[in-house]
C-alpha cells in the first residue's frame, strides 16, 4: 500500500491565475479511497481533539474506506454544519492533521480536510441532510450570518428551535461570501450550505443592521434568546503617511468589491482598483486571498511582511499556492510610508527588519534595521493587517460588556453580561478562523438549548 499522503489535484498555476474558478479540484473517487486507506483508525483518535467542532474523523473515514459515502456523510453532518466549507478553508495543518499519528514519520498526515470536502460534496450532490426534531415554540434571533451564526443556527434548528437570522448586507454568508474568494471557496458551495439551513426552516432577513435597523433590546423582548455573531468587522490600517491616497484599500474593501459585488466580472457595475503593481501588506489568509485575487485581476503582486516565513499566519497551502502563482514575498520588511503623486499611489517606502527576542505573542519581535530603507514602485496597496470588532452593536447597547480590545465579554459558552444574550466567533475572540467561529456558535447553541429546556420551552 502506498504510504505517502496523496496530493489533491489542482488547477495548474499558469492556468488558474487567469480565472476565478476553484484552485483545488478535490479528490477523485480513486484518490479518496486510497487516502482513506491510510487512516490508521486510532482508538484514541488524536485528530479529533484538534477539531473545534468535534468531527468523528476516524469514523467517517472508515465509511469512505468501505465505500459507504452516505454513511460517511451522516457521521460528518452530525458534528459539522458546514463541511463543504470546512473541507476547503479550515487550517487542518494546525488542527486535526497536526495531531495525526502518521505525520512526518509515516508518509504525512492523512488528508483529512480533502476527505471531508470529498464526503461533503457527495452529501450535497445526493441531498443528504440531518434529521431534525419537531419544531417547538422556542425562538432565537441570530445576529449575523457568518460561520459562527450559521453553525449556531443549524444546531438550534436541529433541536427544533425556530431561528431568525439577521444580515446587514444584501446576501447571507458573512466572511464566506464577502471575504473568502471564489477560487478558494465557490459561492455556490456557500449558497448550498445556507439553503440547507433555510430548508430546515431557518428564516434569513437581509438588509437589517442590528444596532441601527433594529436594536438588541427589541430582539431580546421578542425572542427567547439572542446570539450575536457579528464578526470582527473594522479593518486595521498601518497609520503611516500616504495611507489615504487613492489606490490604498483595506483587504476587506478590495475583497468585498471583488467577492460580494463581483467586480472581477467584466460586466460588473461595482468598480475595483486594477493596479499593475500591487503591494499587499500582511501574511495571514486574508493577505494571501487579496494577493492572489489581485494576481487574477492581472497584477504583478508583492507581499510585504515584517516577520519571516516561519511566522506567516496563513494556511500552509495558501502560502504555497500564492508562491506558485508568482506572488513575490518581501519578508522581514515593514512599510514606512506610502508614496503618491496627485493623490494616487506611486510606491511604498519600506525598511528591512530583523527578529529579536520573543514578544507577548511568543513570536520573535521584528526590529527595524537602521539605514535599510528602500522603495518599491507600485500603483495599488492593499492592507491586510487584521480587523477589530465592529462598534455598532456596543454603541447601540451599552449594557453589553466588552473587553478593552472591544470584543464582547463572554464565558466559554458565549454567555454575555446580559441575560439570554450570547456571542461567539470573531465578535468575542477577535479575528480568528472559520472553524473556531463555528465551534463557538455550536457551544452557544447547546448552552441556549439547555436554557430553553430548563425554561420548559423545548424538551
Amino acid at each position: 500500500m502506498n504510504l505517502l499522503r496523496h496530493t489533491v489535484p489542482a488547477q495548474l498555476p499558469e492556468e488558474r491565475i487567469k480565472n476565478f474558478d476553484e484552485v483545488s479540484l478535490g479528490f477523485t473517487p480513486e484518490l479518496a479511497l486510497a487516502e482513506s486507506e491510510r487512516c490508521l483508525n486510532c482508538k484514541n483518535a488524536p485528530c479529533m481533539t484538534g477539531c473545534p467542532v468535534g468531527v468523528h474523523i476516524p469514523e467517517f473515514i472508515s465509511h469512505v474506506r468501505t465505500g459507504d459515502l452516505d454513511g460517511a456523510a451522516e457521521v460528518l453532518l452530525r458534528d459539522n454544519n458546514l463541511p463543504a466549507v470546512c473541507g476547503r478553508v479550515c487550517p487542518q495543518g494546525n488542527q486535526c492533521e497536526k495531531l495525526c499519528v502518521r505525520r512526518e514519520k509515516l508518509g504525512g498526515s492523512v488528508a483529512i480536510g480533502a476527505l471531508e470536502r470529498y464526503v461533503a460534496d457527495h452529501a450535497k450532490a445526493k441531498g443528504i441532510t440531518v434529521s431534525k426534531k419537531e419544531k417547538t415554540e422556542a425562538k432565537v434571533a441570530v445576529v449575523g450570518t457568518g460561520p459562527a451564526s450559521l453553525s449556531c443556527a443549524a444546531d438550534l434548528a436541529k433541536a427544533g428551535v425556530g431561528v431568525v437570522m439577521f444580515e446587514a448586507l444584501h446576501k447571507p454568508g458573512g466572511v464566506l461570501v464577502y471575504g473568502i474568494p471564489e477560487f478558494r471557496l465557490p459561492k455556490s458551495v456557500v449558497a448550498e450550505e445556507i439553503a440547507k439551513l433555510t430548508d430546515m426552516g431557518v428564516e434569513i432577513r437581509t438588509n437589517i443592521v442590528v444596532g441601527k435597523t433594529v436594536f438588541l433590546d427589541e430582539l431580546l423582548a421578542e425572542y427567547d434568546a439572542v446570539f450575536v455573531g457579528t464578526g470582527a468587522g473594522l479593518p486595521s490600517f498601518l497609520h503611516i503617511k500616504g495611507e489615504n491616497l487613492s489606490g490604498v484599500a483595506s483587504a476587506n474593501e478590495f475583497l468585498t468589491r471583488v467577492n460580494l459585488m463581483k467586480a472581477y466580472k467584466k460586466d460588473a457595475v461595482t468598480p475595483v482598483q486594477r493596479g499593475r503593481n500591487v503591494v499587499v501588506v500582511g501574511a495571514g489568509n486574508v493577505a494571501m486571498d487579496a494577493a492572489r485575487t489581485a494576481r487574477r485581476l492581472g497584477a504583478e503582486v508583492t507581499l510585504v511582511y515584517r516577520r519571516s516565513r516561519a511566522e506567516m499566519p496563513a494556511r500552509a497551502e495558501e502560502i504555497e499556492h500564492a508562491e506558485e502563482e508568482g506572488i513575490r514575498f518581501e519578508l522581514l520588511t515593514n512599510p514606512v510610508e506610502i508614496l503618491g503623486e496627485n493623490g494616487s499611489v506611486t510606491g511604498m517606502r519600506c525598511i528591512r527588519m530583523e527578529l529579536g527576542a520573543p514578544d507577548a505573542s511568543g513570536r520573535r519581535r521584528p526590529i527595524p534595521v537602521e539605514g535599510s530603507e528602500f522603495a518599491i514602485s507600485c500603483d495599488e496597496v492593499i492592507v491586510a493587517l487584521g480587523t477589530t470588532p465592529n462598534p455598532i452593536i456596543k454603541r447601540s447597547f451599552p449594557a453589553l460588556e466588552t473587553t478593552p480590545k472591544g470584543t464582547i465579554a463572554a464565558d466559554e459558552e458565549g454567555r454575555t453580561s446580559v441575560a439570554r444574550l450570547y456571542t461567539g466567533g470573531d465578535a468575542m475572540t477577535g479575528a480568528a478562523t472559520v472553524i473556531l467561529a463555528m465551534g463557538a456558535g455550536k457551544r452557544s447553541a447547546h448552552a441556549m438549548i439547555e436554557e430553553l429546556k430548563k425554561a420548559g420551552k423545548i424538551r
Partner: protein
Amino acid sequence: MERFQLVSKRRLAERVNEYVVYAPEVARHCLAGQFVILRVDEEGERVPFTVCDYSREEGTVCILVQEVGYTTALLARLEVGDRLADFVGPLGNPTDLSSYRRILLVGGGIGSAVIYPQAKQLFGEGRPADVIIGARTRDLLIYQDDFARYAKGFYPVTDDGSNGRKGFVTDVARELLQKESYDAAFAVGPLPMMRAVCELTKQFSLPTVVSMNPVMVDGTGMCGCCRLTVDGEVRYACIDGPEFDGHKVDFEEAMQRLRTYKAQEEEHMCRLRGGVR
C-alpha cells in the same frame, strides 16, 4: 405594498428627483442626518444617500438624488411601483444640533435636502434658523417654499443670479456672520462648498458641522473605504459620521478620494448610454 417599492417619484429640478421608498423597517428608527444604502437591481452597486425625510406612519423614507453617475441614472429610470433590490438603514448617526440655539443652515445643491429636516425641526422647537441655499441656477434651487416657511431668514443664492441673489452661499454667509451672532453653522453640499463655508466660519470661530458623503461599500464600518482624516485622525464616515466638525475635516484629501473610481464610473455611464461617451 412591497418592501423597497417606490411610493412616489417627483422631479424637483433638472436631473434631480425625490424618491419616496416603502421601507418600514428603515423608517421605524430613522432620524434626520442618517443615511441609507441602496442597490437598484440584483447586479447593482451599493450607493449611500442621506435621508431627507421619513414617515413612521406610512413606513416610508425619502431621498433626493441627483443624476451624476451610473446608479443614479439607473434609479431615474424607475417608476412608481418599481422595486429596489435593496434599501438598508438607517445608517450613521443622526444630526445633533441640540446644544445650539442660534443656528445658520447652509445648503448647496441637493445638500439643501439634508438641511431641510433641520430647518423644519428647529422651527418646530421655536428656534428657527437662518437658511442660505445655493445652486448653479434657479431650476436647481429646491424646497424654496418650504424653507421660506420654516426659516427665520431665508436667503436663496444662484451662481448666475437667475433666482435670489447672484453669487455664492459664502457671500451671504459672510454678511450674516458680520451682523448676526450664531452658536453654530450646519453646512451640507458639494465638498468645495463645504470647505469654503468652513474656511469662512473659522474666521468667525463659529462651530460648523458638515455632512460627508464619501464612496462606501457596506456602510457598517467593514470596508474602510469611506475613511477620512478629521483632526489628524482616521475616521469612518459610515460609523463615526456622516457629520463631523467641519473645521477639522481634511477636505483636500476627501476630494481626492472621491475621484478614485472616476474613470471606471465613466466607463459604466458609457455602457448605460449604449456606447456614447
